[in-house]
Each structure stands twice: as C-alpha cells, then as structure tokens.
Amino acid sequence: MSPAIPPEIQTQILPSQDLSILELLKFPLPIIQKSLRHQLQPQDFFSTLKPTTFEIDTIRAAPVLPLSLLKQLEASIDLQQVSSILCPHAPSLVGAQLPTWVLAFWIEAARIWPVKSEWILAEEKLDARKKNGKRTGQTIGLVTCVFDALASLSWADKVKGFPGLVDIDILATYTTNNWLKDEHENQMLQLLECELTRTRNDEGVRIADTFLITKLMEIYGRPDHNDHYLSAPNLAWLRNLGQELGNGVLDKLATIINIGQNHWVAVIVDFQCAEILHGDSLSGTIPAELEATLTWWTFHHTAQHFPIKKLPITQQRDGYSCGLLAWNALATRLLPDQHSLMDSMMVADERLKVLLQVIDRHHEKDYQFTFTKPLREKMPEYSTSATVTEDGIEHTSFANLPPVFIPPSRQLTPSSNSNVMHSHTATPTPTLPPGLTIPPLGPSTLPSQLVTPPPRQVAGTKRSAVDQTPERSLKSKPVQKIFKSAVQKVKSSIRNALELSKEAEDLGDNPKFGLLRYWSKGTAADKQAYFDREDERAENDRSEKDVAEKTVATDKKLHERDLAKRRQQKRRSLMKKREIKEGVHSPGSTKRKVR
C-alpha cells in the first residue's frame, strides 16, 4: 500500500471531483508511458535514500507508468525500507528521487485518464462537427449547447434519473460515432417514458427496458418453458404484465431489443390491435427466435396469433445509428405529434439532442437531490408549504403536521421507474396519479387460468378491466409497486423519528434523545439483561412461595397438634369426671385402686 498524497498537494496535482468536464479537460495530468525501453523490475523504482525533490512541476513531468506495473509496484513496496521513488523510465529524471506518495498519484492519474480520454474524444468530435463543411446552423447551435451543458456537469458524478446509476463519462458516447450500449438505449427509453407521461399519452403504454424481451427469450429457450412460465414464483411479475396486457389494462408494450449482441431493433407488441410491430433500420426480418418468443407469449395471454408487421423506421446508412433509429421509430409511433422519422443524414445532430435531453433529466434529478437534502438534515419546521412534483401533482403539507422524511438511501438512489418525486412534505390524503385506479384485491389466479384468458374489453371500456383478477403472488405485485412509487405512505411520527435517528447513527451522530430512547428497539444485550432480571425475579418469587408454603404447613401442623392436645385434655377431663362419678376416682384427683 503506497502512502497517501498529502491533502494540500492533492488539490494541486489531481482534479477535484467538483470540477466540470470542461475544467477536467484543462487540468494537466502527466502523460501516460505507453511502452518502456526495456523490462523494468519493481526494485528499479525503489530507493532507500530520502527524496530530493518535492516540486509539483517536476513530479508532473514524470510520465505515468502502465497500470499493470503500477499495481506491481504498489504490491511490492516496503515502506520500512523504501524512502523515495526513482524514475528510470524518464530519461530527464534519471537520478531524481521523488516522494513515495508519487506512486498513489500515478495510480490515481492512471484511473482518471480513461475518463479524460473519453471527453477528449468527445471534444474533438464536437469541434470537428463545428468546423465541418456540411454544418448547419442547427449543428453549430447544438454543439454550443452541448459545450455549455458539459460546463455544468461534474466529471466524477453519476447520471441521475435513469435506471442504471452509471458514471457520467458514458454520456460522451452521444457526441461520437461509437456504438450505443444498453445504458444509452435505456436512457432513451426512459426519456420516452417521461415524455409520454408529461404529454398524458402514457395511458395503456408500457415502455420496457432492453432486458425484458431478453428474459422472455431466455424462458422460451427452456424445454419446459410453458410449465416454467406458469409455475415459477420469480416470474409472477412477468405473468402479471402479460395478464395486464391480455386483459386490456395495458394496450402496448414498446421496447428496444438487442439482436446478436450487435444490433438494436424496435418492437411494439400491440395487444389492442393484436399485432407485433418490428422495426429494423437495416431492413432485416424479425429473427425466428424473437418471433417465436413473442408469438408464444402473446398467444399465452390472449389465445390469439399476433401477425408480425413492419414498424416504419428510417433506414440506416452507417454502422452505428441503429440504436438511435430504433428509438426514433418508437417515439414516432407513440408520439406522432411530437416526433417524426429522422433524416438518416442528421443522426449526429439527433444524438446531440438526445444527449441534451439526458443532461436536462440529470439536472432535474440533481436539483431534487440538492433541494431535499438540506431540508432533511434540519429538524422539521412545521409550516404550510406546497411542493409540485415532476408529475404535476401538488403535495401540500399543513401546519403542525409532521413532515414525512425519506431515508437518504431512497433519496440518493432514485427509482427510475418512479416518475413521482418523493416529496419531503407529508401528503395528508395521498392522491393517485391520473389514469391509475386501485384494483380490488381478489383471489389469486391459478396458473391454469392463464391459458384461457378472459376476452379483451372493447375499446373505451378496457380501463375498467383493471379489476379482472390479475395474478397476485404474495410479494410480486407490479401493480401495487406502481402505487408504492406513486403514492407516498404517511408514516407515524415515531417511526419517522426513529428512521431519522437510525440514519444519524449511521453517520456517527448522536442518534437518540428524549422519548426516542424509550421507543428504541432493544439490543441483544438488553434482551439478555431483561431475561436475566426476569429469571431472578422468578427465582425470588419461587423461594418466597416455598417459604410461605413451609410456614403455612408448619402453622397447620402446630395448629393440628394443638387441637389434638386439646382433644386429648378434654377426653381425659371427661374420663376423670366419669370416673369420679362412678367412684373409681376420688374427687381429690387421687386414683383409687380398682379391686
């Protein structure tokens, strides 16, 4: 383990995590030594002599070693013997002895370089796009907006507001022609879902992430797929989704599917029109496995064969735009007023537009984080306030009502599936989001019932089909999860206070005060002490009872003895009187001899 960099030096030689991406690009990092002149061993870098230089510029001038060699150095350094680090790989620094913390600096720099290189590539691409002869005013405007947005993002942050909590450098891909990965596709799907919600077009449409159909294909690939699908408790959520689609609670399932680990296609399973729409930007036909899976699944829940139809999609003219075009095909189909099929020559601009939307979404969530955290840290101040969440629902907290505090884990890890911001204020009467109704809890549907689904509702009345006995397992209830995310539970003040104190304890603060100590949950030691006390008391009780019993028995015995004694005296007295009367006994109590 190499020694840590002194804090005052670290701020000078390593970029702070608060720096924006553009500031990171300006921050000087030592160059990377890609190849070494000859094979160097870890011992070649260690010296027992004291460091000769602490100058920042000299240390920055030393190239960073390859990460593999740095790890070897870190593993083999003996701080008892090694006092300084040599630079045999840098001709200009031969003989210079650097402090040992330079090793930690090199390792950190080697970890930051991949992030920086991503953004360097992005910057080059954006600059090139600005100078391109085919540029348009729109392109220049977009590039300017992207640079402005990059100045507002922290390079070490995570992308907030999306399913995957990924590093922010993944956004650099949008500015390049590199392949889009599942993280990007899921981000775009999340954007589409948000847009559907905000335009109130989300009724009956389920946007699924890129893994849903993969899961279905995995199930269908099993030889016992029917039995497995019907009986596996872990697939209850999937059966519920199928049932909601089959019953008419939902109309469409829209998603993007990865084909062969190298191509994205758009798919809309339209249960209302009983058809499967497949959009391939390379004009390919639907893969047989995918078709078989979707046909099996839809038949399972509707007892109908859904024909495969083409989803209108822009044809791809390059090797990297299928992910964007698949998303565009979905957006155009679901939101025809807001979207249209994009020009295949303008995909680079469209990628930048998506990037800006992703950054906007990130800032929305980032703002919520910074907004809620200080309020949570303070103790509650009861007052009337209104909070408008992003779904447009206004939550009002009334005076003298304790606010509902959200645990930090919930706040710091926003559920991407929840479009409802968890307000820090209590909602006295939780309201349902538009379009949602609470289905009554009914008996569980047997798996066998899934084979013969109930007939679909006619258009216009299908929303009432919510109450058509969706399958309910003990714990897998997607419908209820929607409510969980949409409706904020109002907890008791004691529970809230306890949760707060637990968080404070995790953070090392003084957790308990006043009544909280009384309501605290007992520790194992407390429980043991309680049981010991109870045992002792029981023992005491037992001994007291024994003594009492013994006393009673003794008293009873004495009493009986006394009674017996009295009886005996009485009997003797009577005998004496009788004997005196008969003349056997003299009145002076002297016994006369019987002759």
Binding site: I32, P114, P163, K215, N234, K502, K512, G522, D526, Y530
Partner: protein
C-alpha cells in the same frame, strides 16, 4: 424497554440467474448490492469493472482483456442499483435477480 438499537436481521438467500445458470448468495438484508454484484460477477466469470480495463487497455495497450462486458442486474423487471439493498426492494428469501450481459449495437 431498552435504550440502544441494534439490527439483528436474518440473512437472505438470493438466487442470481445468468444465461441459464443460477447461483445462490447469502446476504444481509441491508447489504449494498454493489458487493453482491461484485461477488456474482466473479462467480459468473465476468470481472467487475471490465469496462474500465477495456478503456485502460486502449491507453496502455498492455493489459490483456479476456472478455468484454459487465453484467446488468434486474429484479422483477426493474433495474437494481448498486447503492440499493435487498431490504429497500422488499426482497424475501429465495427471490431471484436476473443478470444480463452488457449489450452493444452496430
């Protein structure tokens, strides 16, 4: 009543399924998924943080990359975050997490 709180919770057996293979991990309900994912990736032979290695390899050209891709984890169709815990997701003993290989495009 006692004074100090203590979390004495039973461990959960969670199944993690990937590519037809299933493993079981025994975890505490309040353990972060980051640790669980790391263990699962090792068990499935997918080194955690492989993407960083790939990027580093582009720079240093010296690291050997044996496989490309990390795993994505979902529970009941929803993405599981490394910062979440089984307790947050109200997981129970025997619940299953699905793992998927990172997907690329053309």
């Amino acid at each position: 009543m006692s004074q100090e709180p203590e979390d004495v919770k039973p461990k959960l057996n969670l199944n993690i399924a990937f590519d037809g293979t299933q493993i079981t991990v025994k975890v505490k309900a309040n353990m972060k998924f980051a640790k669980i994912f790391e263990a699962a990736e090792k068990r499935f032979g997918k080194d955690p943080g492989m993407m960083m290695v790939v990027l580093a390899s582009l720079l240093f050209q010296q690291l050997h990359v044996s496989a490309i891709g990390t795993l994505r984890f979902t529970y009941e169709g929803n993405r599981v975050q490394p910062t979440q815990t089984p307790a947050e997701l109200e997981m129970e003993d025997g619940d299953q997490i699905d793992a998927f290989l990172q997907q690329f495009d053309l």
